[in-house]
């Protein structure tokens, strides 16, 4: 990401009581040297100024730290299973042990690695496809655009999780790579649609025609004129795609699809459910992994509250109407 910028929208972004012809000088404008760094920091401070987004950033950073330093933080190894089975929380095992005799707390900590990894990789790849498809789809005209439209709508309405389950069943035990593959395969379409409509609206603006008159080619226009104006939307797509990827991975792992020996929050719940942790009353084993999934997904959604405010000033925090 090079810059996060608040693109003045053609409609709506300005208060109603303004005359035609642009910004109200009564509103102070930021001044100072123009640099990508400054633009980036302005975007970051807009996100940070949103209370909800600030909570999200802190939460996400905590999980990333947990994932990176898992071996340092966790009291035991993730698959170390020499402990008593189905133990309740105790001084040496704060969250108790699993039916296979593993330390629950250590598994929860190591589980962060899978979620963070899947979220970032699948989110990144989905967004990459969404950007490529969305931008070219928004820029071209004619029958090809109609065909892309049909394909994207098809991918959008086909239910993602059942499709993932079916593909995973055909592929047989592909492990985490397979899960990322199916998550990306079904996860790019929404972002592509959002980016396409923004591309279309930007492409209608005069500076695009001006770039054509200045002799720039289509590729340069897409990447130098249109793309930088969509950073906030792309950021939003990324966090959105990462959220659904994390939730999808946990769902698939919970069903036992993929590699059930990988320690992830979803597979912990798969084993917990299979070993009837409900009946043995090990509520921490049920509670902790799910709460972690919910919290990391919440943190991404919260950050998106701030990102929404970048591209739509009406959604910035405020009171009243």
């Amino acid at each position: 990401m090079t810059a996060v910028v608040n693109l003045p929208e053609p409609t709506g972004s300005t208060p109603p009581h303004q005359t035609a012809g642009g910004a109200d000088p009564a509103v102070p404008k930021p001044h100072g040297p123009a640099s990508p760094l400054r633009v980036l920091s302005r975007g970051a401070s807009t996100i940070w100024s949103n209370k909800k987004a600030r909570i999200g950033v802190v939460l996400l950073l905590a999980f990333v730290a947990l994932a990176i330093f898992a071996p340092l933080i966790a009291p035991y190894g993730a698959s170390e299973n020499g402990f008593g089975r189905n133990q309740s929380p105790s001084g040496s095992h704060w969250f108790g042990t699993t039916a296979a005799g593993e330390d629950v707390l250590s598994q929860v900590i190591f589980g962060a690695r899978i979620s963070v990894l899947v979220g970032f990789i699948a989110g990144f790849l989905s967004t990459l496809i969404a950007v490529v498809v969305g931008l070219s789809w928004g820029y071209i005209r004619g029958p090809l655009a109609e065909i892309i439209n049909f394909i994207v709508n098809l991918v959008l309405v086909i239910p993602g999780l059942p499709l993932m389950i079916v593909i995973a069943a055909y592929l047989q035990n592909g492990g985490m790579t397979m899960i990322i593959f199916v998550v990306v395969l079904t996860g790019w379409a929404y972002g592509a649609r959002v980016l396409r409509s923004q591309t279309q609206s930007i492409r209608g603006r005069d500076f695009i025609t001006a770039a054509q008159f200045a002799g720039d080619g289509a590729t340069r226009i897409v990447f130098h004129e249109i793309l930088p104006n969509m950073t906030s939307l792309i950021t939003g797509s990324f966090f959105g795609a990462a959220t659904s990827a994390i939730l999808a991975e946990s769902g698939l792992s919970f069903l036992g699809i993929g590699d059930t020996t990988t320690v992830s929050w979803g597979s912990m719940l798969f084993w917990a459910s299979n070993s009837n942790a409900l009946l043995t009353g090990q509520w921490v084993l049920l509670f902790a992994p799910g709460l972690c999934i919910a919290l990391i997904a919440t943190s991404l959604t919260l950050i998106n509250f701030g990102v929404d405010g970048l591209s739509n000033p009406r959604l910035r925090e405020g009171t009243g109407r």
Binding site: H17, P25, F213, G320
Partner: protein
């Protein structure tokens, strides 16, 4: 007792994460019953904010920070919401600038009326339909408009509906916020006419907020002039016109002129029109330093002799448009195909300056797209020198654009908000010339100097949001000149700018055209600017050329009724107080 009395009213603007500013400072004024008052100012003067404040529609981040608003003797500045809501019937109503979007797209016009009657219960149920019919007829709309949805109406019709809805409140005070700004010239004229008549027949007090002193002087008996949040002048229309006290008012007035006059002068530009003689070119007598508010020097500091063209560049060529038509497929089922351009022929000679005028929908912008190869004509041919513009493919178009450049209407949209001025100017230099590195940068700075944006180093580093509208338009002009083109197509280059900035940009454009020997196709609905910067004129109506010839000749002695209509629609401050 006055109907409305504002005392020491201030409105503060408190956006999140930015310093609060005062949009209106200590405004005091009164409106007498039955009076038609104008409120004039340029963008950002606070006039609309003031209008929203006195009707208590100001929303966050704007807030009335002090002062009282006595309406009919009661202070409405501190009135609670429900009491205020009731006041709106028989009290004060507002017609918004964007009449286009002021109607609920999913509700029929009939229901819009129904909602107002239901909210105030001031018309008995049995008489509501009749009253709605009466109201739409007052704004000169057919009765069946009640069964329509907003999306099915034209912009002018929607604004008339808004006026009828506001009227249904039977208000004592009507505030019109730029009621015709978004509309086409001829429609603007008609809607203003309706507003004037209604004000007389219904005898409400009216406050007309506008950036256009001409429109305001034509309609109102008293005018308040606002600048930077302060009411700087308040006087009768005659006083304002003939004896303006404040220098800001004087400056605004200086930018009005009648394009039909023999001598037309605005700050920076002066043209004299020969009478009926057909001997030719109007002379630009002098390019005076423009008072356009921008810290720039206007006179192009380019060499007095036309720049020498580099080797390998084609000789100056004419654009020849021959019997060109453009038909768009029918926009929806049941309607007819749209003929945007209808058998148009003309030649733009090298060095010539030609105006293409008409109301919106006259086909003038379509013609510009055809000439620049953005779209292809349905029939007919367009030549630029040897090249057939209507058949050009990618590389051909690139070659064409090296010679034919464009200046856009909206300076706020013509520059990418993320790129510096230097980047914007560097692109055509790199794409069309052999200059690289330091030489290219020198060329960019030279261009900035040419359009008067000095100190050039500072301007090169700026982002568009750090520039005023006039400065942005200068950058757009510099970009068009970067590849040393032969032809410039200027599409309404000053219509989005404040009146006071227009003359400076026009003077620059005209001066550069003469200096560099560039020909110009000037597209506009504004006949005054056409008179100032062109020698030849073509008047378009529904895709057809209805009249053409020398600009001074056509405008001074129009032959076609449509040209006369366009001339008639120009607001004339001189008509101030007419009929009163």
């Amino acid at each position: 007792m006055s109907l409305l009395e504002a005392n020491n009213l201030s409105v503060i603007y408190e956006p999140r994460g930015a310093e609060p500013t005062y949009a209106v400072k200590n405004a005091s004024f009164s409106l007498e019953r039955g009076e038609f008052v104008g409120l004039v100012g340029e963008s950002g003067s606070g006039k609309s904010t003031l209008g929203f404040a006195v009707t208590r529609l100001a929303k966050a981040p704007a807030r009335i920070s002090q002062g009282t608003i006595l309406f009919d003797g009661r202070d409405i500045a501190s009135m609670d919401e429900e009491e205020l809501r009731k006041q709106r019937q028989g009290g004060f109503a507002m017609v918004l600038q964007s009449g286009m979007n002021a109607l609920n797209p999913v509700r029929s016009i009939r229901k819009h009326f129904g909602d107002i009657f239901a909210a105030h219960d001031h018309v008995p149920k049995s008489k509501r339909l009749a009253r709605a019919y009466e109201l739409v007829e007052k704004v000169e709309l057919p009765r069946d408009v009640l069964d329509r949805f907003p999306g099915e109406l034209s912009g002018g019709m929607r604004q008339r509906v808004s006026i009828a809805l506001a009227l249904s409140l039977e208000p004592q005070l009507m505030v019109f916020d730029e009621p015709t700004t978004a509309l086409d010239v001829l429609v603007q004229h008609a809607v203003m006419g309706t507003i004037r008549e209604l004000q007389k027949s219904e005898n409400f007090t009216a406050l007309l907020i506008s950036h256009d002193l001409g429109v305001v002087l034509e309609s109102t008996s008293r005018v308040m002039v606002m600048s930077e949040g302060v009411i700087v002048e308040d006087g009768t229309s005659e006083q304002i016109l003939h004896d303006p006290q404040h220098e800001y008012t004087q400056m605004l007035l200086g930018h009005y002129a009648d394009p039909r006059a023999e001598v037309v002068e605005v700050p920076g530009l002066l043209v004299r029109g020969s009478t009926i003689s057909l001997t030719g070119h109007d002379t630009v007598l002098g390019v005076v330093s423009p008072a356009d508010g921008d810290p720039v020097t206007a006179a192009p500091s380019a060499p007095a002799t036309p720049v020498r063209r580099r080797a390998g560049r084609p000789d100056a060529a004419a654009i020849v448009v021959d019997d060109v038509s453009k038909v768009y497929p029918r926009p929806r089922r049941g309607s007819d195909p749209v003929t945007a351009v209808d058998h148009v022929s003309f030649t733009l000679e090298p060095g010539q300056s030609m105006a293409l005028v008409g109301a919106s929908g006259s086909g003038k912008s379509t013609l510009a797209k055809l000439i620049t190869g953005v779209e292809r004509p349905t029939s007919g041919t367009i030549h630029f020198g040897e090249a057939r513009v209507d058949r050009l493919r990618r590389t051909g178009l690139r070659d064409l654009r090296r010679e034919v450049q464009m200046v856009f209407q909206d300076p706020y949209s013509a520059l990418n908000p993320l790129h510096t001025v230097e980047y914007a100017l560097m692109r055509p230099v790199l794409n069309y010339t052999d200059l690289r590195g330091a030489a290219a940068r020198t060329r960019v700075l030279e261009l900035l100097d040419t359009v008067g944006l000095t100190p050039v180093e500072q301007f090169a580093a700026k982002l568009p949001h750090q520039l005023s509208g006039g400065q942005r338009q200068r950058v757009v002009i510099a970009r068009a000149l970067a590849c040393d083109p032969q032809v410039i197509i200027a599409d309404e280059p000053v219509s989005m700018l404040d009146v006071s900035l227009r003359a400076g940009v026009l003077a620059l454009l005209d001066g550069l055209r003469v200096t560099f020997g560039v020909s110009m196709l000037y597209i506009t609905h504004d006949l005054l600017s056409a008179r100032l910067v062109t020698d030849q004129i073509m008047v378009l109506n529904q895709g057809r050329v209805v009249e053409s010839g020398q600009t001074a000749q056509v405008l001074r002695f129009p032959q076609d009724p449509y040209t006369m209509q366009l001339l008639e629609a120009i607001p004339q401050p001189q008509r101030a107080g007419a009929g009163r």
